[in-house]
């Protein structure tokens, strides 16, 4: 069993396809790990044993019959609970959708099932993906597998914690402002936020439609590249989906560092960035430049406008996207209402948590008559200018290197009391969403408390290959990163 947990997803699938490990054994290994660490970590919000048992059989037969031949066939995967799974509860970790069972699969889910992957269960998250700690979940906090007193990050905290704790071999997350990259950094795993439009959003319960993107979370860069290849591609059901061909994962991660030009925005290492994070990044720079990459500092403009522009746009879209949760068609309905507007008000007041309500109010305000131009339009203009700053940078550099977060994982209970401070900690991640860029987050060190430090490599639109290639090369030079679950057992 332990042997299975040690394997990468690609290695595990190979063994399954060769018959040396069964799909059932792979799932059992994860389930055993779930039994051990889930009481402490709480990465999952739901698992459906019946569906899982049925699926194991289906995949085992599919592999035997030659239906599933892909590089990740048979691999157990966890799915963030804002991605629709037909017949399986999809709650967005909200009381509002506590009992919501979708009638259809998200396109990304369909694609990973077509590739013969096995969905283990649905993972915890910040309610409706609004948060950076997975503490705003209506179903309890997820704890960092490295240290249960700390948060796993968010909003894809459950997915990242599940992979870090060995409770899943891989996971799907979603990233609107850093929700894959920041928890990947906090949990010491690898996560990719693809270019906007790469992965269909059909079936992803929207937080901010123009920024949301589904992406892979895994143990290493190559696993993520393989999952990325599976879920990416044009989908006619999503009008914002891009029709750009995706290379095979092997080619995505090959090429090495030689000749790569990497820029570091010096504004990112100014005040606010933790010294230990800076130190880890400096070590990474040293490794990269010693091995063929040219790394230099440059000045990235508009950095001060990134957080306000992001929160205006994201909240504006969220305020509209979340209007459909009204107690009429599905989801939570208050028992205590006698007329329509009372039902709306009470259902939403009781069904949504604090952070969600805060963002709906913020968003409604910036869209209201008389404020639209001053806030929303201005934020859209800022978004355009931020994109231009990146365009300029990518004329010079293949990748941009940056910390994934100014600090390592904070302690549970220390973030929510000061939402503004929490928003500010998204400084290195949100610009990527505003500009629609791809970025990969991977571990690059440990702080003195034994918590992982993550760095991200940001690429130009549809240039996943460049960042994955650099990340894979760095990963090899860095060497095997310790595993949280292995550490626990010691």
């Amino acid at each position: 069993m332990e042997e299975i947990l040690q394997m990468s997803a690609l290695e595990l699938s190979k063994q399954i396809r060769h018959g040396s490990v069964s799909v059932k054994e792979a799932v059992e290994a994860c389930k055993k790990q779930i039994q051990t660490s889930e009481p402490q970590v709480h990465a999952y919000v739901s698992m459906d044993e019946k569906i899982l048992a049925h699926r194991i059989k289906e995949v085992e037969e599919g592999i035997k019959s030659g239906r599933y031949t892909g590089p990740l066939a048979g691999v157990p995967i966890a799915v963030k609970d804002n991605i629709c799974t037909r017949g399986q509860k999809t709650t967005c970790s909200s009381k509002m959708l506590e009992n919501f069972v979708p009638t259809y699969d998200a396109q990304a889910v369909k694609q990973l099932e077509d590739a013969g992957m096995v969905i283990l269960g649905k993972t915890n998250m910040d309610e409706f993906a609004m948060g950076s700690t997975t503490e705003t979940s209506a179903f309890g906090v997820t704890r960092n597998p490295w240290n249960p007193e700390h948060v796993p990050g968010g909003s894809s905290g459950g997915s990242c914690a599940a992979v870090a704790a060995g409770e899943a071999v891989m996971a799907l997350g979603s990233d609107t402002g850093g929700s894959i990259r920041q928890p990947s950094a906090y949990c010491g795993v690898t996560g990719l936020k693809p270019t906007y439009g790469r992965v269909s959003r059909y079936g992803l319960i929207a937080y901010a439609s123009s920024l949301d993107q589904i992406g892979p979370i895994g143990k290493n860069v190559k696993d993520c590249a393989a999952l990325f290849e599976i879920i990416a591609g044009h989908d006619s059901k999503d009008s914002t989906s891009a029709d750009v061909p995706v290379e095979s994962y092997d080619s995505l991660v090959s090429g090495g560092l030689s000749g790569m030009r990497i820029g570091i925005p010096k504004e990112y290492l100014a005040e606010g960035c933790d010294e230990e994070v800076k130190k880890a990044l400096a070590d990474a720079v040293h490794t990269l430049s010693k091995n063929g990459a040219v790394v230099e500092f440059f000045s990235l403009g508009m950095v001060d406008y990134v957080i306000p522009a992001y929160y205006i746009i994201a909240c504006a879209e969220a305020s509209s996207n979340l209007e459909r949760f009204d107690g009429v068609k599905y989801g939570y309905r208050t028992p205590g209402a006698t007329e329509l507007h009372e039902m709306y008000k009470k259902s939403r007041a009781e069904g949504f948590g604090e952070e969600v309500k805060r963002r709906i109010l913020l968003g409604s305000f910036v869209l209201s008559a008389g404020y639209y131009d001053a806030y929303y339009m201005k934020a859209l203009r800022a978004k355009g200018l931020i994109k231009k700053e990146f365009d300029k940078a990518f004329q010079k550099y293949d990748c941009i290197l940056a910390p994934a977060s100014p600090t390592t994982a904070p302690k549970i209970g220390t973030s929510l009391s000061d939402p503004l401070q929490m928003y500010l900690s998204d400084i290195y991640t949100v610009a990527v969403n505003l500009a629609g860029l791809p970025a990969v987050s991977l571990p690059c060190g440990m702080d003195s408390r034994g918590l992982p430090i993550g760095m991200q490599l940001i690429g130009d639109c549809f240039q996943e290959k460049k960042i994955l290639r650099a990340a894979a090369a760095y990963e090899q030079l860095r060497g095997e990163f310790p595993k949280a679950w292995a550490k626990e057992e010691k």
Binding site: G203, A206, S209, T240, D326, V328, Y330, H341, Y372, Y376
Partner: protein, 476 residues
């Protein structure tokens, strides 16, 4: 002297498009299905669903915009109009505010006062809402989302109309264009055309607009006319009493023939419009525009002119026949098949319209094979049936689309050309009317008409009157 008032009217017209599928999903737009059977995750606002624009809707909007002489926003996009109501599954309607597809057009209308140009402010595409059904017995409300996502075009006019007559002429013109384009059947009663009337009054000569009200729920031309008259009077009365007109939305009650206030400007909603991030802005390519332009049909004016020219019809006939594309198509096919355009026109305009009116039907409901009418016309012209019987056959064609020759034969309506049968009847009549025969011989030639009539009666109208005449004279 009492003050003279002028009515100022602008219209917001919603036209439901006759596309096969909805505007943002593949569900059918067909009317009358069992509740919530033409639905999917998109048009019921399920979490995670996304809209995909139906290109046909854009094509129809462009065609209508071109027909109404509009400027086209080649770069256009959709906006969300946010408001909570259970018939609106997302609680926002996907519509267009900032960059509507068409703007600044105009239509020419004709009333008894002559021609007039009505300017069009803009046209935009949007989705329809579902339908709420209130169950009084169960004390609950039910929602049917079959209509949710059915495509609409909203046409906003400038306040250029002054009378109910002009309003009706404008709506008829708009309806005619939509029907010629085949983009909507525009039925007010069924809601495929809906008009909201914005109305204000001002003293004649004033160049300032009065405060306007918006009237909703107008389901017929009659209701529109009455609502305009009623609202004009209500506003004038207020002003005469020294009171102010309140800017508000009013709902017309067809049974009471009066309106009541729904909501005032103070509690007007803030729709928090913003561009829909789920739909990419559209850049309408030149080739597409050209394609649509080249496919524009021949509209009423051109067609009427052609009928005068090609078929030698009087202007009046040409204008009546082209009022609906359907009637014009029926006419043209019939005329070409029977080779007698004037007769085809006479049948359709005379008996055709008379029968439709009698049955309370619209020209659109005229549904028969043009060949059948052509055959009937040829039968009449060839003396195979008399006019009176031909009318009966036509009524039957209109009703059941019967094949006229077979029907005439079956019903015994064909002319009798067998001289033996007619001769028998002539002999009988002569024998039954000796006094009249005497009168004839004494020089009263006029009585021949009576005798012809008697023979025709015996023949139940199916004899050729010429032949009857000839035989009578011979026998007398």
């Amino acid at each position: 002297m009492a003050k003279q008032y002028e009515t100022v009217i602008g219209l917001e017209v919603h036209v439901e498009l006759a596309t096969a599928t909805k505007i943002f999903c593949g569900c059918s737009t067909k009317f009358g299905a069992a509740p919530n059977t033409h639905t999917c995750p998109v048009c019921t606002g399920m979490p995670g669903s996304l809209p995909v624009l139906n290109k046909k809707v854009v094509e129809y909007a462009l065609a209508l915009g071109m027909a109404a002489n509009c400027e086209i926003n080649r770069y256009c996009r959709f906006d969300r109009k946010n408001y909570f109501y259970p018939d609106n599954p997302q609680n926002y309607q996907i519509s267009q505010l900032y960059l509507p597809i068409c703007h600044d057009g105009h239509l020419e209308i004709t009333t008894e006062n002559g021609k007039k140009t009505i300017r069009i402010h803009e046209m935009h595409m949007e989705e329809d809402a579902g339908k709420l059904i209130h169950d009084e017995w169960e004390d609950c409300s039910l929602v049917d989302y079959n209509r949710s996502g059915v495509p609409l075009i909203e046409i906003v006019s400038e306040p250029d109309m002054r009378t109910a007559q002009e309003v009706i002429a404008y709506l008829e013109k708009l309806r005619m264009i939509c029907q010629y384009l085949g983009i909507s059947d525009c039925k007010l009663q069924e809601g495929s055309m809906r008009a909201d009337v914005n109305l204000s009054v001002r003293e004649v000569g004033s160049d300032r607009m009065g405060t306007r009200t918006e009237m909703k729920n107008l389901n017929s031309f009659k209701a529109i006319t009455h609502a305009i008259e009623g609202e004009r009077e209500r506003q004038i009365e207020l002003l005469e009493e020294g009171k102010e007109v309140i800017q508000e939305t009013r709902r017309w009650d067809d049974n009471k023939e009066s309106s009541h206030a729904m909501r005032s400007k103070e509690d007007a909603k803030d729709y928090r419009y913003f561009p829909d991030p789920d739909l990419q802005p559209m850049q309408i390519p030149t080739e597409w525009m050209e394609q649509i332009r080249s496919r524009q049909p021949e509209f009423q004016e051109e067609r009427a002119a052609r009928y005068e020219e090609q078929y030698g019809l009087p202007a009046y006939d040409a204008s009546i026949l082209t009022q609906t594309k359907h009637m014009a198509d029926m006419f043209e096919q019939t005329a070409d098949l029977c080779g007698n355009p004037k007769k085809a026109a006479n049948w359709l305009m005379g008996e055709g319209l008379r029968l439709l009116k009698e049955k309370g039907m619209e020209a659109e409901d005229m549904d028969f094979t043009p060949k059948h009418l052509a055959d009937l016309i040829q039968a009449v012209e060839g003396g195979k049936i008399n006019q009176a019987n031909a009318k009966k056959v036509f009524a039957k064609i209109l009703e059941d689309d019967v094949e006229p020759l077979a029907y005439m034969e079956k019903e015994g309506l064909l002319m009798v050309s067998d001289s033996g049968a007619i001769e028998g009847a002539v002999d009988q009549v002569l024998a039954e009317n000796p006094k009249t025969v005497e009168e004839f011989h004494s020089g009263k030639e006029k009585v021949l008409g009576f005798l012809v009539g008697q023979v025709m009666k015996k023949m139940r109208g199916k004899a050729d009157p010429g032949m009857v005449n000839e035989l009578l004279r011979k026998k007398l």
